[in-house]
């Protein structure tokens, strides 16, 4: 159907308006980050706001130097180890759960809501509950068990939803065919199901990794004596704020972006291969 020219012009105008809005939205979401990037190169005598007093890597050197805020390197290592463990557990659990949910079973409703409530219960409540429970029992909290526990509670619903979506579009006839040809359950899973759902598993793991790596509220009371990176950042923030914190923030953000980029690349490759 041919459209009259004025209407087409109006449509283009509306589209242009929305595009401008999208650009402004991006500035709103990313703007503060870029201000932070810039200010991390503040001169030695500059403060945490503009104007820039010269341009230097002074604060970056201070960050990597020995007198840095807390013990950044070991807290970074801790955060990474934690994120990798959370990633693996999230990927495995959400795959298993989603496979169970392909069938009807008793209690599936309550279990669904239980998994989802990990998304709804504020981190500060879980932190408080588990920390005071551990105190009563007499076990000191530690990032690699109590911290790990609540991190997985937080990341599991994301991974679970991803895997549910994957299995929604999954063609069960492929497995059926393999079974008809006499394959046992493990062979069906290993040869048919797993290769087809690998991109989904990677995506579920990605959620686990990035959400855990940045998680603060849920680790607050549960990391014991050793801080993870977000806790160190928070500690540095409650002291006198210096541009060092911007350097740290920039480094951490760039790292997050690299991880996301890496995962998107891996996902795309696996997705293409599974087609």
């Amino acid at each position: 159907m041919a459209r009259s020219t004025p209407e087409r012009r109006r449509k283009t105008r509306i589209k242009a308006g929305f595009s401008v809005y999208y650009a402004i939205f991006l500035i709103f979401v990313y703007g503060p980050m870029f201000a932070m990037f810039t200010l991390s190169f503040q001169g030695p005598r500059g403060g945490v706001t503009f104007p820039m007093r010269g341009f230097s890597v002074f604060w970056w050197e201070k960050l990597t130097g020995p007198s840095a805020v807390g013990d950044i390197k070991s807290s970074l290592v801790r955060s990474l180890i934690l994120a990798v463990i959370v990633m693996v557990i999230t990927a495995i659990f959400s795959t298993m759960l989603a496979m169970a949910f392909r069938k009807k079973f008793r209690g599936s409703g309550p279990l669904f809501y239980a998994v989802m409530s990990g998304l709804m219960v504020p981190g500060v409540l879980l932190s408080l509950g588990l920390a005071s429970l551990l105190r009563v029992v007499g076990i000191p909290p530690g990032w690699w068990y109590s911290g790990l526990g609540v991190h997985v509670v937080w990341t599991l619903p994301f991974g679970f939803l991803v895997m549910m979506a994957v299995f929604n579009r999954f063609d069960a006839r492929l497995e059926e065919a393999a079974r008809d040809m006499g394959a046992d359950e493990w062979t069906v899973f290993k040869e048919i199901t797993l290769p087809l759902i690998t991109p989904g598993i990677v995506a579920a793991g990605l959620f686990g990794f990035t959400l855990s790596y940045d998680e603060f509220a849920r680790t607050t009371l549960l990391s014991g004596g050793q801080n993870t990176l977000p806790l160190d950042i928070n500690a540095a923030m409650t002291q006198r704020v210096q541009p060092t914190i911007f350097a740290l923030g920039t480094a951490s953000t760039i790292f997050s972006l690299l991880m996301i980029g890496l995962f998107i690349v891996i996902y795309t490759i696996l997705y293409r291969r599974s087609r």
Binding site: F18, S19, Y21, Y22, L26, F28, V29, Y30, G31, P32, M33, A35, T49, F50, P51, F93, M96, L97, A100, K103, K104, F105, L111, A114, V115, M120, V121, P122, V124, L125, L126, L128, G129, S132, L133, R135, V136, G149, V150, V153, L156, A172, E176, R179, E185, F189, D214, F216, A217, L221, P230, I233, N234, M237, T238, F246, G249, S252, T253, I260
Partner: protein, 332 residues
């Protein structure tokens, strides 16, 4: 009548169990049921690990909060008891029925904190909705190419995967007396001298929260808009509906479940918020989240637990209200 339906009719009419009777055509339901009955791994094994994990790290903490809220404080810990003193403290301190306070009609200081938390949350939700809806609409309705849709959507969502503490810190250079917002307003001549109103104010706190959580509203609204059947819109257009009518009668009602889910996300996140208040608001006011942490730090665990329970109650009420307003079941 489709072929399948006509076969089914014949199958129904034909006497069953006779050799040579018309083949019984399986309806779609039956085929589905058959697949569900397919072996696969046993369900108990699949759900056991995750269920155990949730019991230990989700339900035990929540139940212990409830139990501890009745315990007694010993100064450096707590002892088992059944006492309502902490609930009393929550409702009475500096407010209702407090003998030291002449004003009987003022709610207690902790109720007021909870109310402030809720007020901030509500403002943030409203602004998030206003900002997120046009964006989701643009991505789902105006961008036609699927690849571009996905790319632009991801670009808007990426900040969600970066540290929110750092995004909160990143507001400092924007807001101070020499912050970018002040400089900008000076440049365009809106103000004559820098105003200190931006940093450590309700305004900055609200803006920071909006920026931190708006992406949570964009996602669900985008998905519900993208799911709308385009032929509906085409049909409405053919019947000479104006764009505004189409929006009001079709697009908006169909996007309500997405709005509800997005709003629930923002609601629970901001209600439980505590770190941003310290960074951007200078700890000038407290949210219920900061109250909980403060009482934990001074080892008054039962009172922290009481505040946590009240927070949870407020959140449940809020979520139930949202669910009452919008039926999200068709979205799940």
């Amino acid at each position: 009548m489709t072929t399948l339906e006509s076969y089914a009719k014949i199958a129904e009419a034909a006497p069953r169990g006779l050799i040579g009777g018309a083949p019984v055509v399986r309806g779609e339901d039956e085929i589905k049921r058959k697949y569900r009955r397919e072996p696969g791994f046993p369900v108990p094994i699949l759900i056991a690990p995750a269920t155990m994990w949730l019991i230990v790290f989700l339900f035990l903490p929540l139940i212990s909060i409830f139990i501890f809220s009745f315990w007694k404080t010993t100064g450096h810990g707590m002892t088992p008891a059944f006492s309502l003193e902490h609930y009393r403290a929550f409702f009475v301190t500096e407010g209702f029925f407090d003998p030291k306070n002449g004003d009987f009609l003022t709610p207690s200081v902790f109720i007021r904190t909870l109310w402030t938390t809720f007020r901030f949350t509500f403002t943030v939700m409203a602004i998030c909705l206003l900002l997120a809806y046009p964006l989701a609409y643009f991505l789902s309705m105006q961008v036609e190419d699927f690849k571009w849709q996905l790319a632009l959507f991801l670009l808007a969502m990426v900040p969600f995967w970066t540290s929110y503490l750092i995004r909160a810190v990143a507001w400092l250079p924007m807001l101070g007396r020499h912050g970018l917002i002040n400089e900008f307003l000076l440049d365009i001549g809106a103000i004559d001298e820098p105003v200190s109103f931006f940093l450590y104010s309700e305004f900055s706190y609200t803006m920071a929260l909006v920026q931190l959580y708006v992406v949570l509203a964009v996602g669900p609204i985008f998905f519900s808009l993208a799911k709308i059947d385009r032929t509906l819109l085409e049909a409405a257009r053919d019947m000479a509906a104006t764009p505004f009518q189409i929006f009001r009668e079709i697009i908006f009602p169909l996007s309500l479940p997405g709005i509800a889910i997005g709003m629930i996300f923002v609601f629970v996140m901001v209600m439980g918020e505590f770190a941003t208040a310290v960074v951007v608001y200078g700890g000038k006011t407290s949210t219920t989240g900061t109250v909980i942490l403060n009482y934990y730090v001074i080892a008054n665990y039962p009172f922290a637990a009481v505040n946590a329970i009240m927070l949870m109650l407020a959140m449940m009420i809020g979520v139930v209200i949202i669910l009452r307003l919008v039926d999200i079941r068709k979205e799940l």
